[in-house]
């Protein structure tokens, strides 16, 4: 928003003129439509999922070996077509968790995934899921996905959309073999599954 407009808004607010306050505000907001609409925001579903990814950093403990050094960034990776756009970057911008700055990286192939602590496997990778998870399962990497049976197939956290709302499904076997500790609070809110042995 242009600073001039903001000042006008503040001035009217200070004077306490109810109607003027509203009008200026409405004008401002209408004026901001274009800028807001111009940015490509992901669907509400992926906006919320981006925020979930950010929150997972608070509920998961990685072994020390997951980080090359104490101040190394905590990397949230997106493998495959990126459904978040700039929204995920904006979500983690300037955030720190236990001394690790959060950063986002994008990968086309699982072979590129290195030095990453959370990996979101895009729905575009559904056909390659088995191969991807077999390469990541023994590393201290929190795999997150939303394709069908992601958790039962060995992914750690699956987003499940139930009647429009996002639920979590957590594979505790997979978390254990990755050496990750997931807080009981998060586990308490999730459906717990184990790897299917089919």
């Amino acid at each position: 928003m242009a600073p001039v407009e903001a000042t006008a808004y503040e001035r009217s607010a200070r004077r306490g003129r109810g109607l003027a306050h509203w009008l200026v505000l409405a004008t401002l907001l209408v004026a901001s439509i274009e800028t807001t609409a111009a940015q490509t925001t992901p669907s509400p579903e992926y906006q919320v999922k981006a925020v979930f990814l950010y929150h997972f950093t608070e509920f998961v403990t990685w072994p020390r070996s997951a980080f090359p050094e104490a101040q190394a960034p905590l990397v949230i990776g997106v493998l495959g077509d990126d459904p978040f756009g700039a929204y995920l970057d904006e979500t983690v911008r300037g955030e720190m968790v236990n001394g690790h700055p959060l950063v986002v990286r994008r990968y086309d192939r699982v072979e590129q995934v290195e030095g990453c602590q959370i990996l979101f496997v895009s729905p575009s990778e559904a056909g390659r899921l088995g191969r991807i998870l077999s390469r990541t399962s023994d590393r201290p990497l929190l795999t997150v996905g939303d394709t069908d049976d992601f958790a039962r197939d060995g992914g750690i956290i699956q987003f499940v959309t139930v009647r429009g709302k996002i639920r979590l499904r957590i594979n505790v076997d997979a978390a254990r073999s990755a050496g990750l500790t997931i807080s009981s609070k998060l586990l308490g809110l999730a459906d717990i599954v184990t790897t299917s042995r089919s």
Partner: protein
Amino acid sequence: MKVPAMLHFLVGYLGTSARRFWLAAFVFLVLGLPGLANGALAQAQDTLPPLGQLKTMSIEELMNIEVTSVSKRPEKLSEAASAIQVITQEEIHRSGATNLAEALQLAPNLQVAQLNSYAWIISTRGFNALFSNKLLAMIDGRTIYTPLFAGVSWDVQNVLLDDIDRIEVVSGPGGSLWGANAVNGVINVVTKHSADTQGLYASAAVGSFLQDQAAVRYGGHVGEKLSYRIFAQRFDRNNTVVPGGEDNSDDWHLTQGGFRMDWLPSGADAVMLEGNLYGGSEETSPRPSAMNGGYVLGSWSRTFSPASAMQVQLYVDHTWRRDVPSTLTDELTTYDLDFQHRFPVGGRNNILWGAGYRLMDSDVRNSTEFVGFVPMSRTMHLFSGFVQDEIALVQDQLKLTVGTKLEHNVFSGFEVQPSTRLAWTPDGRQTIWSAVSRAIRAPSRIDVDYHIPAHPVEPGTPNVNGGPNFGSENVVAYEAGYRVQPTSLLALSLAVFYNRYDDLYSVEALPGTMTYEIQNGSEGETWGAELSGSYQPARWWRLHGGYVYLGKDLRSKPGHAFDTSILGNDPQHQFLLQSMMDLPGNFQFDVVSHYGGVRPVPHIPGYFTLDARLAWQFKGLELSVVGRNLTKKRHLEYGALIPRNVYGKVTWRL
């Protein structure tokens, strides 16, 4: 009896029976259709908070955000091409409303007036009268009307308020989808999925006007796919006061229990079964009146693809009421079967069609010969069908919806109700829409079978001979509107309308006789504007409200003579503001203020009301103190003086 006295008596009598018996508004037809549901379901998408706020939410809160529409055909509220308003669970909870009628006061586009302890008059776009009958009301797709009166007995439409997910209120004809009697609007109460009411909920309230209210609910599940809830509630409400200052002797008591079960056998199917039973009494003169009833409803929906789905719904509903003041006992059993299906054709057309059948067994007992229904019993069949095509003239921008409903009822035969609707959505944040619709209010039993006295009379004796030739009332409605949602914090909606009514209700003597008949002798126009909005000035503060202006000119048709003021005692202006504040220390402070304008005939002064709620939450426990109608010790809305109501409430969730 002289003719004017006779008429006066009739009007007074009808008024009394209405007041005592079948209050307020509305009628009916086919169920809550996806178009309406979509509009509101997708509201969640529109109100997705900004990133900064999302990040501060807990995991639980994030899990509660609705990110995709259940119907998988997302239509944002900002894109809805009608004057739809949505009352959310949060708004109901924070308003301190104690029953469904009080919750409906939160819709800026509804006129809700409390008549006495247990009766409310509810309408939209005018015709606010003891007879209000131009509105369709539904709970979970079940029409809650009595064909006896084309209106709703709001006192027996009880819902555990915490079970409500949202209430959608459309002002204006429901379009071709909702059929007869959705003349001036539609109310659709949608309850929560049983997976969203898991665990224990218990609440108890004690107060002055609301003497006591208690509710308990338990929700559980069997495996991942089947969830359920059961509930019971009870309340006792005090008397209102007659203008002279005496007790109105209208205290009201009701007990209710029910259940809902949801089963998701596969990703594409959803099955729902719900039901409930109630019984209650109201103090009336010379003895109390009593009522009871219940229903069972089942539905099955299957989604074939994001754009294609079908639903089948069946319900059986039984109501019984012994109404002492009107000397009538009414028993009604309704069987209703509905089907609807939607699918795309080519890239531009979305077809929605449906069909329904309803059987109503209406059995009235007149306890005197002086007045009553002739015949006392009727079995009524209603067949209905509709088809609508939504055409994308310009993809994602310009949408034309054309459709019609065809129905056959026992009184007026075949009825056609077409509508056309154009919506332009230039950028996803604003919509400009317009519509032209024809809608009818089909005859009800009181229009046709009402007799004074209920036995044949000698020629020359004054009498009312029902309405043997009464046909449907009808309207052609012209509407336009603008919705804008500049940011997720602000939403505004403006709707304007001009309605031309014909064949409206009248009661007139046949020429040269003392025999009165109910006829279609009135006509007229109404016009108005509805402005509403919601705004979040700060993270902890939300506002919503609206203003309505209504103008009207109703008159007798040439060759007819009837006092049309009886058709509605409407205020020209009304105003609503609700404020919800989250304060530090887990406190909430909430206020609702209403202004109801002056009503002309009979004259009722304008009034302001103020409701306030202070609540404190700690984990699953909530303590609240609510004051309703705080501005005056008593105030008049339509009939009796409504006393101030202060109550305290404890709610516990586990």
